[in-house]
Amino acid sequence: MFSLKMHFKKQNNSVIPGFGLSMGITVTMLSLIVLIPLFSVFLILSDSTFREFWQVVTDKQTIAAYKVSLSCSAIAAVINVVFGILLAWILTRYKFPLRRVLDGLIELPFALPTAVAGIALTTLYSGEGWIGGLFAKAGIEISYTRIGITIAMIFIGIPFVVRSIQPVLEKLDPQYEEAASALGASRSRIFFKVVLPEILPAALAGFGLAFARSMGEYGSVVFIAGNIPYETQIVPLIIMNKLEQFNYPAATSIALVMVLFAFVLLFIINLIQAQINKIARG
């Protein structure tokens, strides 16, 4: 640790004190809490061959779970982008009663413990629930199906998209829209030609965040999913099942696939965003 501190000191001769101390604490805590535990994934996997690894991560049941997780997360994120743009729009452009309440409510999925959200959604959409009951009459089941999973994922994704787009819309000068309307453009045309391109990078970022979060989400989804293999089993549930069977190498292998997927996803989104920003700046 001491030599590390000296090394940083040399690089930095700022007069502001505390570089060595704050850097030391930051790196130490980050290593102890995040990096070293994460690295243990590879330590466990080093005992098994690649073949074993590959067998586990391409197991039929696991593949089915990837499909459920991916499709439900993607659909939920798309729906969230649509409603996210709509919500961000009415919250920044219109004045109406309840506006502040709605604005404050957006963060509920962050603040509400996921388990509580999970059991509430499961009950609400079950055959006896207020909404589930209505659909049950039409012969549609929601809880314990992929529809239920998607709804839970929409729930947790709402704040990501709205809060990505809202600041951009707030900064987007209404003069811009006024100028377009002065030129005779219709409202919808203005929205699609002027506003939408501006908020697209933010919407994309929100999509990515909501998508990534949905893929990994456990608490709010586990109750409504029902855990039926090949049908409503999501990837985190597979990992949990393997853990309950004390099959640590299998759980770790699938976890590694998920982690890599999340990193690649975030990387791609960063790339796209950088690209769009470049175009926007001209």
Partner: protein
């Protein structure tokens, strides 16, 4: 005329969406919690295991917030006030827990401290228990909420620049004095905001804790885990009664968050 129609159509649509997606689940919790009367409700929340779970949750949250706030302040200081190579990498590493499933967050601690973990022989020798005990729950919670405070502080402190700190240091002020008198007034609302978010997530953390807790009633059961057990035992009223405590805390946090966010925005102006 048409414009007005579109406006109200959009507002109704947005409100309805939030109503169905957010308000109805909230209402479900409260209605189910109280549907067998006040007495059943109060019995459920005064039950021994519920109280123990609440205490455990509060303790774990308290430790988590302390640890993550300490980390957040030091990390933000190092990253925003100094120039050094590898800054981008460090910032990206700190954000890792955001992109990792809570289940995996729990799993990694099993892989370190569990029966198969590389640190297990050591713990065995010293007779320390981490997994399926309080330290494991705390570690998993810290992991999941690790970047919450630093993430709020870094952009705020970067925007502020380091001129004032430099000026103070030039006059011979020590680190703590500079932080207290020059930096803290700038970031106090942002700091509080980060602490609130961190508290909210720590209170409700389920997946990661579920993996490392071992579900020992009265010992390693946090409130969200307790809710799960009650729900799986079909004790719906009790499950929702206990949930309503968490809902209450969540609503208070939301209100606080809004007040603080309003202050943060005002400071930025």
């Amino acid at each position: 005329m048409r414009q007005k129609l579109v406006k109200w159509l959009l507002i109704v649509l947005g409100t309805a969406f939030l109503g169905v997606m957010l308000v109805l689940p909230l209402a479900t919790v409260l209605v189910y919690a109280l549907r067998q009367g006040w007495e059943t409700f109060s019995q459920a929340i005064a039950e021994e295991y519920a109280i123990k779970a609440l205490n455990l949750t509060l303790l774990a949250t308290f430790i988590t917030v302390i640890v993550n706030t300490t980390f957040g302040v030091f990390a933000a200081w190092a990253i925003s006030k100094f120039q050094f190579r590898g800054k981008q990498v460090l910032t990206a590493l700190i954000d890792i827990p955001f992109s990792i499933s809570p289940i995996i967050a729990g799993l990694v601690f099993i892989l370190v401290f569990g029966r198969i973990g590389w640190a297990y022989p050591l713990l065995e020798a010293w007779n320390i228990k981490i997994v399926f005990a309080l330290p494991g729950i705390v570690l998993a919670t810290i992991f999941v909420t690790f970047p919450f405070v630093s993430r709020e502080l870094i952009p705020l402190m970067e925007a502020q620049g380091s001129d004032e700190e430099e000026a103070a240091a030039l006059m011979g002020a020590k680190g703590l004095l500079i932080f207290r008198k020059v930096t803290l007034p700038h970031i106090k609302w942002g700091l509080l905001y980060g602490v609130i978010l961190c508290t909210a997530r720590a209170l409700g953390e389920f997946g990661a804790v579920s993996v490392v807790s071992g579900h020992l009633r009265g010992q390693t059961n946090t409130l969200p885990l307790h809710v799960e057990i009650l729900f799986n035992e079909f004790k719906l009223t009790a499950a929702f009664a206990v949930s309503s405590i968490l809902v209450l805390i969540a609503v208070i946090i939301l209100i606080l968050r809004n007040i603080v966010e309003y202050r943060v925005k005002r400071e930025e102006r």
